[in-house]
Symmetry: D3
Subunit: 179 residues, 6 copies
């Protein structure tokens, strides 16, 4: 569409079919793979969820892999562990920066309030699989590392934010530039 | 609390711990069993989800069992099939009453818009397991059959609603009274 | 419009006139008549109510007629009796299915929380007239009987939902097929 | 309650009865009478409407009477004329101050967008009765005249707001002080 | 755009640049000047604020000048005094019409709840400058004087609203017609 | 109060006075000083803003100082430069991490969408002063550096998030432990 609104346009109601509410293949990993972090993300894509305030993703994390420290600007999240075990949690806001975390095993569910920093780390020896539900059809995603080191933030600003020197910042930035 | 508000009161923030965001045991059936309909519902109970706009439940449905025709007055729903196969769908509102449904297998996800009538029927030969996410911490649940026949609605009103006679209504009501 | 959004598009503000906020003829029955149920519905149609969170309808119910058991997926409702007398009420959600109902007479007002099952039955001997206000410009309407019997829900699913047999379901479906 | 929140506290759900959703007597004038303006307001009082986003009032206006120019800070309004005839309308916001108005007769409905200035004037010879629905359980009411002249706004400020002199302001204020 | 929605359409995300989030020149008066009331309003215009729930304006008020009694139908407001001194406040709703006001000096901040009538009056001898923040990207503005006297409200209605005579109304209207 | 709800309780309306809507002293720096980052934050504290969807803060940043890279989980922000000059901007979400930034001078205003990472850096030679408005009375604050290094996140997780080694993480953590 040539008209942009806040969120996606809807499909013509007269043309809607059952398939517009369906997505398949969540029983297997799929979608985007991050070798760098060791995860694969299989994003549920259901046109009919537009305006319904939900979205979902399957995550597969290799042993030693992480879904790195991140947050969703417009959603809370609840994750269910389907296989394996992960260290999962969130950090409260400034100035407490308090950690609420737990090793989750198959059948565990953990909730993260809207907009708070969270993560998962597979520090076991077998692959882990999770199914995460977010409370918006447009939750957004900010990876703290990528935000600081993969974009165009000036070195001096990042150094001051992290109480470190620009050389350290440049070294890490170089790592983010490598595939 | 002696003070009632719309929704639940919150816990004292100073006393909140990681366990307030955790629920375990979703890898097994549990919770409430309905022999009548052939399902078991394991409701995720996480105090920290209060105000976050999400809730979750595991459903196990025996071969031949149903989660009968129902709706949630205050939530959309998205269901993931973890095991087995179910016939799953929803009905659009009056006057179309159009059916949007599909046989779902392991790894399939299906979405239901807020407040619409939906159902699942395990018409296979093995147990089916689903994980459903709802877009409210207080979604509510109305079973159409129970609403019509298990409460105190007058027979004549139900008969007129269903274009049937009072004898039929009384016969069905008797079935709802049997455990 | 060729662009579909959640809700209706707006009129060009420069072209808006007083008539866009007006609807007439609510002093008489009108609109859609259901011989089957014995009611006539005169829906207030005001373009200017788009986005304002309200809609309104006049209902006329013949002696013995009903507005059958139904709900609005996206609205609460408040009804005022203008003439006659009706038995009016709603049913709370599962598992209570508790009935909150009352015989209303001229000048009585009764409220129904969002999304709950409700009804009205004119069990008097004179016509009844109501004016109902709903808390959404797009409240939706689901008739429980039509949802179960007038659409394409499979007989076995409906039978299991109602704890009855498929023959009974087919008999009622046949009644819904008759005009 | 000793705990104040934004809006009213709820009743204990276990103690709720049908009467909590009912109000009677709207078939007759009642409630508060304003001799000054020539209207009587019968406010629908239904505890169960708390949090439901609706409120309602019956207005009776004598020939020559007005419900003076006013607005509701937190609600849109839709009014139905039950008896008689009134000149009814609203004024758009600055800088247009455009009038959208119409003589309404029995059976006419007119809508007012949230927060806009509106009024009704019975310039006929028989009493008029309206039923107004507002899109909030706590709509608020500001009468422009009373706000300017019945409170403690300084004379010089009011005079400058109205492009008039303080003597005129004091004269009108004196009228508001008289019962 | 030829498609009208509630609020403004968005810019194509791919074409968004930093300048879409910037507005300059708030260190000087500017924008619209009202000689009549003695103020200049410099409205912050930032396309990127669309949907973000904020808007801002700089106000410069000459000695003796006012921003006349007014309200915003869709926003709360908080004002910061940057220079000079003003008498600032709001009036609660009917029937109290209670004045909450204060002489503000440089560095003072004062808040006005959504939709309530408020004002500022520079009754000092030096110009005053304020920076006001409103809680909507589309707050609306209604000046009580202009609403009553600068539009097409009938004289008799205004006279009855203000408990005065039509001659007084006509005299004030004439003042509003003069530039 | 012993009852915890989402947000703060309200004051008894009968006891509310004008001072409940006022805060003074924003013409001078004040409040909390961070020597580490080189800023002072003077948070506007107005009880009457509760539920109104706004909050405000004055920031003073020394030459070379930063308000380090951060975000607000529940608010958009608009900042006005009152004195001096700052490099100000935000980073879009993953995977773009696109920088929208600009050197702002006195009288410049810049907006940040809800929940996005932003910052300011005084890379001039004179102190800078800003007045920031946020679109929530409870916006929250997360400093990316403090979230990663000042709380209890495990070293290995932070190292993997930042594509660096644990020694670097420990070195930075040590800097955050020093006052």
């Amino acid at each position: 569409s040539k008209v942009h609104e806040n969120g996606l346009a809807c499909k013509d109601p007269a043309a809607v079919v059952a398939e517009d509410f369906h997505f398949g293949g969540l029983d297997k990993p799929g979608g985007t793979t991050s070798k760098r972090f060791g995860f694969t993300a299989n994003q549920v894509q259901i046109p009919g969820l537009n305006t319904l305030g939900e979205s979902h993703v399957r995550l597969d994390v290799a042993p030693g892999g992480v879904f790195p420290v991140h947050y969703h600007p417009r959603a809370a999240e609840t994750a269910l562990v389907l296989e394996g075990s992960v260290y999962f949690g969130f950090v409260s806001s400034y100035p407490d920066n308090k950690l609420y975390a737990k090793v989750l095993r198959k059948g565990d569910v953990f909730a993260v309030p809207q907009g708070l920093v969270h993560f998962l780390h597979n520090n076991g020896t077998t692959p882990a699989t999770l199914y995460a539900s977010l409370s918006s059809q447009n939750p957004g995603l900010v990876l703290l590392g990528n935000s600081l080191f993969a974009g165009a933030l000036p070195d001096d600003l990042v150094a001051k934010t992290l109480l470190t020197d620009q050389h350290t910042v440049q070294t890490i930035k170089a790592n983010f530039r490598r595939s």
